[in-house]
């Protein structure tokens, strides 16, 4: 009887260990499932929180991909919103009340305290006072895109820039950047081998 109990506990323990190691070593990059440790250390929810603010979509999304607030820390968004008159070389000024609304939304939903996986990873890749103006300048982003060639992005007429998330990440607008959803125009699916 005692022996049987010991066997069962051992079996349960080893199963649990397997589960942990699976989550630890498999860099699966699948935004739809979160491993055991991922949930503890990498954010419990997959991807990044989707944008659900119509005014943000309108004001920011009419010119470019509406980057989710969870892609940058609040200190970055503060800088972005302070320089709308020269927004990466463009004028993106807003009436004061709209600018305030957008800024409040960005700060409230920034990556800092997010429990979405991508936000957590971006935050972890930054030093305490780093305030990059572009998502594509964050160490996490750079690491994730370091295998791409100029032909695939910069010189690809259908992509053109790393700022054009949805050109390749087919579900980017929903806040999902899973590898399985990547489709690079003229190149096809991304196979990380």
């Amino acid at each position: 009887m005692k022996r049987k109990l010991l066997t069962v506990s051992l079996l349960m323990l080893s199963t649990a260990m397997l589960g942990i190691s699976g989550a630890t070593f498999a860099d699966d990059d699948d935004d739809r499932k979160g491993g055991f440790l991922n949930r503890w250390f990498g954010g419990s929810k997959p991807g990044v929180a989707p944008v659900e603010n119509p005014q943000y979509l309108e004001e920011c999304g009419s010119c470019h991909f509406p980057y989710q607030p969870g892609l940058l820390p609040a200190r970055s968004w503060t800088k972005v919103m302070a320089t709308l008159d020269n927004h990466f070389g463009e004028n993106a000024e807003l009436p004061a009340e709209d600018a305030k609304m957008i800024k409040d939304y960005l700060l409230k939903n920034s990556a800092d305290d997010s429990n979405y996986k991508r936000s957590v990873k971006i935050m972890k890749s930054l030093r305490t006072n780093d305030a990059p103006l572009r998502v594509s300048e964050t160490p996490y982003f750079l690491k994730k895109h370091d295998e791409l060639t100029p032909k695939m992005v910069l010189n690809n007429p259908k992509v053109g820039s790393f700022s054009n998330c949805s050109a390749c990440h087919t579900q980017a607008a929903k806040g999902s950047f899973s590898e399985k959803e990547i489709l690079i125009p003229n190149f096809g699916a991304w196979e990380d081998d």
Binding site: S62, C63, F65, E90, N91, E93, G160
Partner: protein
Amino acid sequence: MNIRLIGITALLFAVPFYTQASAISELEAEYQSQGSGPFSAAAGEALWAKEFADAKSGDKRSCLTCHTADLAKEGKHARTGKVIEPMAPSANPQRLTEVKKIKKWFVRNCKWTLGRECTAQEKGDLLAFLKAL
């Protein structure tokens, strides 16, 4: 056919035209109160196509850079490549219906294209040109 139904349908069709007319007349009155007018569609058309050199890059810019030559068709953001809905109200009834939106884009796009804000006269002329499209 029920006459009331015809009436309602006609009213619904008229709504975009009414809001467009009211947004434009509101802005025209504002520009006039700033001492400008009368407004000329021909002057607006000329300004729309006029090229300005960007102070920093020296690049030539005009409204056509992004909106392209055919305003009944989609344009393309020069920097990001994002599609810009047709500018002509005949092709896109949402155009010129919202005062706030018109003001916002005049600020942004005059500064980008001309390197300064447009004057009341210029804005009135541009509206006179665009509303007739």
